[in-house]
Symmetry: D4
Subunit: 237 residues, 8 copies
């Protein structure tokens, strides 16, 4: 049995050769783009302007495009002053830095749907992320189930999508209805929109997890970024 | 201030004159029919056959019709053997004893809608209760939102109803959709149908409480009886 | 089977003809008044002054009265400066814009009851909403169950109501007691009043859902608006 | 500082002299009667007949009366066969063994009140425990708040009590109402009676913890025994 | 049966004679002092300075002493400026207005114990309330179970108390230990002191509800006031 | 506005032409195969043998293959006796009836991974469902993260997959690790395997929802069927 | 960057050389003993007798001792009939198979303490596991905090221990008290003993996580096995 | 039996001789250093600058080193101005006052590992605490499981540690993976890092409690201090 031990250790030694760069605040993982097909992204919430700028510059030095998410207006202004060429997406609370336009890598269109207008920031985070990763994105906002004709009137855009992202707070019922109207994968994003017994998005989350449409999968509450990445990864298949 | 105390005491004395009869296991409240417009009903779960029979007989002696709810098949058989003339409603797990047919007291039709077939027992409890209380009841079962055309194809029956009861488990989304298609009150009954993150009906309950349709109110999980009573009380207005 | 597909598509095409107007931030659903019997209402929380004004103006252009809810004092002032003729209801945190007085559409009186004084803002939201929708509203505040004589002394007003709205935080027991004293429908509104194990209204919500009075249905925590709409819809029957 | 260490050790040495007897399955704490004023009681649930009998005999040898709680009918029969003179209290699921009648130690009457008939087993556990500990107990069952006149008609018995125990499931509202009608301490016992959103007694527990009557304190769900002991301890003051 | 209806109505009419005064913001219930043995108290949190002053003045006019609880420093200063003779209790966040010293109504001493120093504000609220209601109060602070000798060294003060109030956050274990060292009633107050998995006092609340000492009852998280009232009510027996 | 109403009604009329067949217990939705790309499936749990057989026969008459899930061994035997040609998949608790082998519709391989051996039934439900829907499925079981080399040694099979399904109970950490090793979509299925603070799968569910790998989406606890359908839908893109 | 990819792949190839044996139901991980210092253990709950026997035999063939946990009495008998030389530990619900006595690997004594007698099965699981792994174990049972002198009288045994395991249900307070009496590490095991608001061990779990003794760490509810392993790993240091 | 009572009382008298000093805001427990092997530490959160300074000075007078935790930047500056010689640890939010360097008391190295950069403040609190208590500490930050090679490349540092502290938010999976790679005790610290369904650290907490690695124990969310103390206590064995 001891025989097995050595090769393992040896293998682990070689793992050190992996390309990442220690920029002090974070091990910037340049390799992830290769392994996972997504460039590193900076989650802006809870990071200082200095930390964001340092990580972004390290990524730029490595030749990568940069997406910064969850920036409140003030932090966005501060980061933009220090990072030249950063393009803001206010509704999405995101910032994008890259050379030229993204290469189109997704094969079809990703449709991002919201139940209400308050869900738009999360939906835009998903949409901007998917565009950053090289996808065509269509947006269909404020088509919640209490006025079902608003959604039914847009059937052909549902059908034109290759992947769908449904963003909804409150009872989150939209995901099930959309799932019943398409034969494509539906990524559901519960939002923290609501009050009282919405419990910060838990009602929508549970509604989506219990969807009677078996083509629906769910990401974390308000996780527009994750929905953008996952829909992009699916759209590249 | 002491002046106010005596009349109160006096008043409370007189309250003793209220008509109820102590049958040992429960104070049968014959007066409730007058106060609340509903005859006393026996919640069968957790009561023994003997207790059910004793309460039912007391009510029959007082001239009242009797509804027994939440009877499993075995208990239903045992109660029927001892209470002549009891009419079983197997799907609703209910038993009805009365003289003749109920007088029609509700002004319109109560429509009971379910999302799936597993929700039918709770829906039937609501329907049988409403019929027992003198209402016309229409039933529209298995029209959940993942196949929205099933519901949309029945619009005229939705429109014909004066009060609607929507019974759904899992994500409970049907209440919101129905609420958006009618201008009549919707009583939503979450059911414990589901598994995993349905948490015994909590997902449906939260979904319904967070309904984006403002004409929806909610009763307890699996509370078909309450929905039957409340829809009946509304239908008498 | 393929035969069924075409008519559906055809039907969905026609749904596009439904009257709504895209005002940028929200699809204002002028049609809802027809379908649901309630004019569109603006939920003020989380919307900017600009968004509220834009939606309100679109509604006014369509000839509709406007109700704006959940306005904190500062936002209410800002909106009033830009919308001439808006009538504030400070205790309800609401703003109403309409031509003349509402037509009386409700057949009886809606009685709004509160357990404590802290529940009044939610109760007023319900009352103002019901008045906006054409109902006579009676108010009976601060009659919680720890001093039951306060409620019992007002029995004739309970009996005079056609629909009751009970607003209570903490243990929410008032809904059950009121439900036991009337044969009319009771809409219960749990409030987030309380601390510690009230869990932001959850204790009151659970208390109301488990009411031993079968004529009680519940809406979301602090949802005075929903209670106003639903009681109005019932009062029009 | 080291000076302080020795006396402590010394003190702890002496603690070993405390009178208890190791009967194999449990350290029977004969001393507790002295310290806490209550004899040791055997919680029957989860213990085998053998364990119960062994502990009971040890207590009998020490001259103590014995109360065994939470016995299902079968276990009660088995224990009775082996412990001569044990008096069963079926409704309370308890068994009492003692010489003669308990000495009256409580100064007044403890009133045990229930909301419904299903709460009676827990109420009887409280009542039998309090009687075992030397108290006069009055019982007022099935006076829940949905028929408030049943309770109000019994005002003089509420007023005659020195300590009150209120046992209620579902929304647990009875404790607040009783608390508002008396100036004596109220021990509230939530029960697991209910279904759906009662969550095994949580709704009643929260309702009682949030009682607007400040003379109410709460024990664990279904903890009739604790309420019996605590009300007894208060009644001896 | 109809016979019973009239006396009830009659009785309810007379209930109107009960003495209370509508001061606009609250029905001040002067009668409660008679029914419950406690004067009305003003819960300061969530009330404006104007509301507090209005209610306090109404109570003063009725000849009652006044206790105002849950006042942050700023509000306390504002209220004091407008209510002459109000005595502040800063640590308790309370304000007392009365003529002369309270009459001693409690028969023994109430001992208020805390686990840590952060629990003191809640403990002081209990102590000041009990003193306001005419009780001798002893204080034993910062004797948590991780240094059990601090508590054990104060045994004689535990034994001298007639009623005990135990105030503790985090795991709330102190209530069980104190309950094991005394034969007097223990009112346990969980506090919201703690972080992470204390969940705002839930851990302490559950710990106290599950106390293995059967002489412990629990009030709401941070409810020092309730503990003060209840311990006072017990101490008057 | 009234103009818009008629076409809608007209459209809804036509929806009735949709092909479904009422078999008494359920509206068998033959159309769903067209809309969603998946044949109707029978969820066996909570259905009687008679119901399952009736629905299955209706589907067979319509020419569809049939998948029955969640069959305990006894029910599976009973159904097989009545449905000739049904092929059991014991580990998956599923039954398949179809003519010949499924046509290969998925473009790549779906890899189903489990953390432990107890997760296999849920994983097999996913695998059998995916195979039923025309996919090649690879299985990699019992490679949980506490022995990370078991997973790392299978890297090439991870890389060979077009879609991955990760099935794990307890802490559910495997989804994140797998998500970090592949650039393909990962469908995570939490299972109810575990005890204590796993809370029936909640710990795994939360772990997966909070995955630091943005290519992971989650379905309901134990929802192997949903994972099979969704991975199939993705694999057909 | 691509440079880094190859060594990693190469390394992962070599990981396959690790010694494990596929016995059909589980990848028996013989290597773990080397990596983690603990032999593989069979979690008996949810496994069939056949699965347990197969895994046990594989382990025996590899020369390892075997510990099987969570065996109910019937399964234990069945396994013993098929595995010669298996030694049962009934109170711990465990079975041990090994050659001779375990070598003493732990440097000191592990003391296992319980609050009540109902906690003993979990405590014995911890104790038997620790003994199996080569430790001296002392047991101190039924010394809960409501009778604190029982614990204080055993101070010298607390002091003699090198590692302590505290097993308690209900409020779990014992861990904090023990933590305050020793300067050695305390592993706390909450148990599911209790009822009502113990929520299957959650109250004890939260109590222990919020311990005011900073030398306490917690394992899962009822996880006696984990406490046995971890205390053993610490005792080998 | 009475014989046993006196020695106990006697013993408790002597407990008063224990050395602590009442500094007004807290009973500074100088004795704890002897009993538990850790000096008293000041939890800065919720304490005023004046309280912190008073306690710190009392400890300094007793000759003890002082560690103050949970200081926000402003409070840290204020405390430093008043306590000469206090050394700040900004990343850990801690302040240390002592004479000279700590004596090395721990036998090996404590390795503190984090999943992300946001977990660093909690990790630093653990590290600074452990250093304060006389341990060598190694830090390995930002090695979360979504990029598993970052951790695997640091195997020799894992192996060099005598005790490990794993700090992780979100899904908390790192603890299980680390536990599988070492045979030393692992103290897991869930952090409140995350959003949505992380529920303030609950997801990580549950993940760690359900770890499939039996050498992992858990402390409270964000409890870096506790992890530092416990790992230190273990490292002294």
């Amino acid at each position: 049995m001891a025989k097995g031990v050595l090769p393992v250790d040896d293998a682990f030694e070689r793992l050190r050769a992996l390309p990442y760069e220690n920029v002090g605040v974070a091990r910037v993982d340049h390799h992830r783009g290769i392994r996972q097909g997504v460039p590193e992204v900076i989650f802006g919430e809870g990071k200082t302007v200095e930390q964001i700028v340092a990580i972004a510059r390290s990524m730029r030095r490595a030749g990568s495009g940069v997406l910064v998410t969850r920036l409140d207006p003030e932090k966005m202004r501060a980061v933009r002053r220090r990072l030249r060429g950063a393009v803001p997406h206010a509704a999405a609370r995101c910032l994008v830095i890259r050379d030229g336009r993204p290469k189109l890598l997704g094969k079809g269109t990703i449709l991002v749907v919201t139940a209400g207008t308050s869900d738009i920031p999360v939906a835009e985070e998903a949409a901007v992320t998917a565009e950053f990763l090289g996808n065509r994105v269509d947006r269909l906002f404020d088509v919640g189930v209490a006025g079902i004709h608003r959604l039914l009137g847009k059937q052909e855009r549902l059908r034109a999508a290759r992947v769908l992202v449904v963003v909804a707070g409150m009872e989150g019922a939209l995901a099930s209805v959309v799932g019943g109207l398409t034969d494509k994968p539906v990524i559901a994003v519960p939002t923290s929109i609501g009050y009282g017994a919405s419990f910060g998005g838990v009602a929508a989350l549970l509604g989506m997890l219990n969807s009677c449409s078996p083509t629906v999968a769910v990401v974390n509450i308000d996780n527009g970024f994750g929905a953008g990445v996952l829909s992009s990864v699916i759209n590249r298949l």
